[in-house]
Symmetry: C2
């Protein structure tokens, strides 16, 4: 396919391949005249330099990978979050003339592709909880930015949001509205994970208000709309004392609201609901969702920026950057009717 090579251009332009290389890369000294001539031939022959050959010399690919664990899990599958993130990453990469590869990898899969393709770095999304994976990632000795991964290694470059503050803001809002008996819909509370951090923030808000932590009802469930709907039914049947539910994901909140509606529980009159993320469509729901906003697109762009910095300056100091979150007050959380 890619028939025309640097040789063809050199031949046709009556110069050496070194000269062609120079004009292609704008390096070395080339007279305006020969440059011109070479350019013409390149144009005429439709010459495209082979990145593969370049990579072989440079040991650089101008490509980064975005690694997402377990694409098959429905959780990721239906989560608009990831698309927004990837778009942010692609945008940032493009700006730096890098291209991006998408990979989903399982806990036990190899990261050999990073070496094989001479990737310049990668952005790893979400937590790989088991240490072996982490070690394998570190072992490849390439620039890596970890997104939303609570890892306790100060030498790792991490980008997270202020999950604790998010939990705090949501809980505080509910408390200020008079709620005392609050349900929490969260995913698995693994040691120092995203949801554990959010819960910690909730605890802080409770303590600040002088409320006992055991008036909190924790539901450690799968993060999905399906689960939220089912949980709402369960709360209605078995936990009548609850007047508010804080879901650590918008998608869960969407399910909750629907589930309460199924049971004729009015949101927010009878039950307040708060979500987390501020996905674009929750503003248009009925009731519009009160939630904790994080700027996912910015997260993607910032991740690339961090990565590029590491690529340009391999010895740059590791940073743990934490993006702010914000309470977005809409309609789904209101005053406690049983205050």
């Amino acid at each position: 396919m890619n028939r025309v090579s640097i040789k063809d251009v050199a031949l046709q332009a009556k110069v050496s391949i070194a000269t062609v290389s120079n004009v292609v890369n704008g390096k070395g000294r080339v007279s305006a005249q020969t440059a011109r001539k070479v350019q013409d031939v390149i144009e005429q022959l439709q010459y495209y330099p082979s990145q593969s050959a370049r990579n072989l010399k440079d040991k650089q690919s101008y490509m980064i990978a975005v690694v997402v664990p377990y694409l098959k899990e429905a959780k990721l599958y239906d989560n608009p979050f990831y698309w927004k993130l990837i778009v942010g990453i692609e945008e940032g990469a493009k700006h730096k003339r890098f291209q991006v590869m998408l990979m989903d990898v399982n806990d036990d899969e190899s990261f050999a592709f990073v070496q094989e393709r001479h990737l310049d770095g990668m952005v790893v999304v979400g937590t790989f909880h088991n240490e072996p994976v982490l070690e394998r990632i570190s072992a490849i000795q390439k620039p890596v930015v970890f997104l939303d991964s609570y890892l306790e290694h100060p030498y790792l470059h991490q980008l997270l949001i202020d999950d604790e503050q998010g939990g705090y803001l949501g809980a505080k809002h509910l408390i200020e509205l008079g709620h005392r008996q609050i349900g929490i819909m969260c995913g698995l509370l693994v040691n120092g994970g995203v949801h554990a951090a959010r819960l910690k923030g909730v605890h802080t808000a409770m303590k600040e208000a002088g409320l006992p932590l055991d008036s909190l009802q924790i539901f450690e469930v799968h993060t999905s709309a399906e689960t939220g709907r089912f949980l709402a039914h369960r709360i209605n049947d078995q936990f009548p004392q609850l007047t508010a539910t804080f879901s650590f994901s918008d998608i869960g909140a969407v399910g909750l609201i629907r589930g309460f509606h199924d049971k004729k529980v009015s949101v927010p009159a009878d039950m307040s609901v708060i979500g987390f993320d501020d996905m674009h469509y929750v503003e248009y729901m009925n009731p519009a969702l009160t939630t904790i906003r994080q700027d996912v697109h910015m997260k993607g762009k910032l991740a690339v920026e961090m990565l590029m910095e590491m690529i340009d300056h391999p010895s740059v100091e590791a940073r743990q950057i934490r993006l702010p979150v914000e309470l977005i007050t809409r309609e789904s959380a209101g005053p406690c009717s049983r205050a």
Copy 2:
């Protein structure tokens, strides 16, 4: 970085690089014993063959690109559709041991990267309306599958859904519910585009029912929730005769429903709404959205399959595959109150 090369392995294992190559690729005849020895050294040295070098020989990269036009447009930006599609593609590609690159390209941008990186093919999502782009894509002489692109070239490999049938099913449902004055929220009706096809289906349903086409009110607007909300307000104020609105996207329908709610127009009692796509969350909305379902994940997987077939058999005949759609009846469309 990638220090260890085939030479190092050869040296350490006391064989030639040809032999190493053979055991790595399982080609040629190698004695079990040497194979074993080489394997050990590979393991020990942590040797990863360089894809770049391989590509240089093979002119193959085992990588395909997913090309999405205009990532910056909010339309794509907030559309979960694309993520689901990409996941489907990645899954299919992985199955064939291919990796995927993500690119957004503008109408006037170059497709040089396909040649430069020796990509094995690409999936192009959405229509590039102007012919020059299409010509440039064709000019690169690589396997390409066009997704949702209405292109009138029988030699192009295309994968679409049955848009016309989708429009037909939605309209027919509304007509059966007694609606006569129907609004259509669609995007730009470019010559032979996706939305034009859907509209054509709507027309068919109207004609079948003996209804005049001018009782249809077409709103050619931007595809977004924001626009839907605004449009609902406008319909309420200026088009009181309408009793149903068919949006050619779920995201538009979400906005519509919210907009009608703003104006105290009850859906479906006073106004029926139908969407298109069946994004996962619309089932949980209140009211749950009646919509036309397409299987986006399947679409992604099928696209790769078509592409792989082209890669394996370059002369395979071009096909235009059209995936079926399905009416999903939920709550947002009901009997016409003014029938």
